[in-house]
């Protein structure tokens, strides 16, 4: 039963675009070098190397809002957040504005059950390009671009992080303290990812394993709540 409910909700995950004034929402704001991330625009990595980011997509699932340690809200849906799709950056939570919350958590990626239960639609549809065809499983985090640091073909870097089988389970829990506001803005600072991901000429990780887990932990660390004033 639990399983079919989870699956049902994941099927609904493609249904976005609920009325914006409904209540609470999570807004992801991709950043690089303290500025908004612009796909396909030239930029510099933290060490000064020129680079371009062509794609940033990741799954967010199991969203929870907490109030003094108690779960005030839980959404078992799976959302595909795409830096190139502004609509996907806002995830509506269907609960009243009056609901209090002091922290939030979500799974960066897709849990094991949804990785082994066959075909889903919506954001989990394999046409989204976030499913490995040669080795079953969702790609939790996909970051692609070019950098002269990479000696690969066309200087490309490709990080496709996923994997659901132990010992290389890839999805990571992210927990953040929040100020109680209508929309929780979550910054996604990919500079932090680059600071370590490209070390030692590592420019492509595209299969489950130790490297993918290490990088997934790194990816989970790039989420933060802005301390400066609200938008």
């Amino acid at each position: 039963m639990v399983r079919s409910v989870a699956i049902f909700f994941c099927l609904l995950s493609g249904l976005q675009g609920l009325p914006q004034d409904r209540g609470r929402a999570l807004r992801f704001v991709p950043f690089v070098n303290a500025g908004p991330l612009q796909l396909d625009e030239p930029l510099f990595l933290p060490d000064g190397t020129p680079a371009t980011i062509t794609q940033l997509r990741f799954y967010v699932s199991q969203i929870r809002f907490f109030d003094q340690g108690h779960i005030a809200f839980f959404d078992s849906s799976c959302y595909l957040v795409d830096a190139g799709e502004p609509k996907s950056l806002l995830i509506q939570a269907d609960l009243p504005r009056s609901t209090h919350a002091d922290s939030i958590s979500f799974l960066l990626g897709i849990d094991s059950l949804n990785n082994v239960s066959g075909a889903f639609g919506g954001d989990l549809d394999p046409t989204k390009g976030m499913y490995w065809t040669w080795n079953s499983g969702y790609i939790n985090w996909k970051l692609e671009g070019t950098s002269t640091k990479c000696t690969t073909v066309k200087n490309e870097f490709q990080f496709h992080l996923g994997g659901y089988l132990p010992p290389y389970f890839n999805a990571q829990q992210v927990g953040l303290k929040v100020k109680d506001e209508g929309v929780f803005t979550v910054e996604v600072d990919v500079s932090k990812f680059f600071a370590q991901a490209l070390l030692g000429g590592r420019c492509s990780v595209m299969s489950p394993g130790k490297d993918a887990v290490e990088l997934a932990k790194l990816a989970a660390s790039v989420f933060s709540i802005p301390s400066r004033g609200e938008e």
Partner: protein, 338 residues
């Protein structure tokens, strides 16, 4: 005039009935004495329309980049849905793959798919050959776009799923529906088990040998446990294929491959993941004389067996009772006529 109006109304009613018709549910019948299937039909209930759509997709080369290769190119119904007489298969532009195309049958009982178990669910299996550059060489989302642009498919998806939306999920589930109907359970072996026929003396001798030497891994009635094993094949120097280990990264999985079913084995030559053995005789000779030592060799094979040449002949006589001609020539399995 009145008659004409009535005829028109009747035609409209019939038309409405035809277009609003719910998909007709199809019951999945478990052959007597077989275990429960592993496929979760609750997430993808079989319907006549869903099966028909899956069958059309299975035979449609639109799934490949060059519109020449379909699923059936390497999985031919007349030979138990395998690529007969091909050690490894060829895909678009005659590109050669690295593995022997598995025979497709009794997939509802499958625990994992592909020779190395890289695919964990039947629904997701088709993604692998569609995307592989040496097989169908297509991008899955492009396949869906191509289907959306056809005249025929939106209507077939509507019949199967209630509206004309063509999605990856629906396409994969329709393919699963057709593949789930590929049940082979009517061989001579099955008729003997049901008491409707008897083995010849030689077949009976072969069956006894089978139970003593083969049944642990090729467990009846499915004739496979669905597990993986290293059956003592020398590592192929061309492909250097380590099998299951490539998926799990675990060294003890080195050289382990999926244990294939023995049903319809008469038709599925050549044998093994790389098709290295042309005949059943070669296979049995391998198990008696050709085992390659390895730390991961299946424990069941570690003690050399003593099958004589005559034993091997008897064993083959039994294996041929697993041929299911009704399955191979079932008109419901072949190219859809429309």
């Amino acid at each position: 005039m009145r008659n004409k109006v009535l005829t028109a109304i009747a035609a409209l009613v019939l038309f409405a009935a035809a277009t609003d018709r719910q998909p007709v549910a199809v019951e999945f019948r478990i052959p007597k004495g077989w275990p429960q299937p592993r496929y979760d039909f609750a997430n993808n209930p079989l319907t006549q329309e869903g099966i028909a759509l899956g069958r059309k997709l299975f035979y449609d080369p639109i799934l490949s980049a060059d519109s020449i290769v379909s699923c059936s190119s390497c999985h031919l119904s007349y030979t138990a849905f395998t690529h007969v007489d091909h050690a490894v298969s060829h895909g678009i532009r005659d590109r050669i793959g690295t593995r022997n195309s598995p025979a497709l049958m009794n997939l509802a009982w499958g625990r994992s798919f592909m020779w190395d178990g890289a695919v964990n669910h039947l629904d997701m299996q088709a993604l692998a050959p569609i995307s592989h550059p040496d097989e169908m060489g297509e991008d899955f989302s492009h396949v869906i776009q191509k289907l959306q642009r056809t005249e025929r498919y939106p209507e077939l998806f509507r019949r199967a799923f209630g509206d004309e939306a063509i999605t990856g999920e629906r396409m994969l589930k329709a393919l699963s529906q057709f593949e789930l109907t590929l049940i082979s359970a009517y061989s001579k072996y099955d008729r003997v088990k049901a008491g409707a026929e008897v083995f010849t003396q030689q077949e009976a001798k072969g069956y006894a040998l089978f139970l003593a030497h083969c049944n642990t891994c090729h467990h009846e009635p499915l004739f496979t446990t669905g597990e993986f094993a290293n059956n003592g094949l020398r590592v192929d120097t061309i492909y250097n294929d380590l099998g299951r280990m490539k998926v799990t990264g675990v060294p003890t999985d080195s050289l382990q491959f999926k244990i294939p079913t023995l049903r319809n084995i008469e038709f599925s030559f050549p044998y093994m993941h790389d098709g290295r053995f042309k005949s059943l005789r070669h296979v049995l000779d391998h198990y008696v004389e050709g085992l390659s030592p390895s730390p991961t060799l299946a424990a069941e094979l570690s003690n050399s067996n003593s099958l004589t040449k005559d034993d091997r002949t008897d064993l083959i006589a039994f294996l041929l009772t697993l041929s299911d001609r009704d399955f191979c020539f079932d008109p419901e399995h072949g190219y859809p006529k429309e």
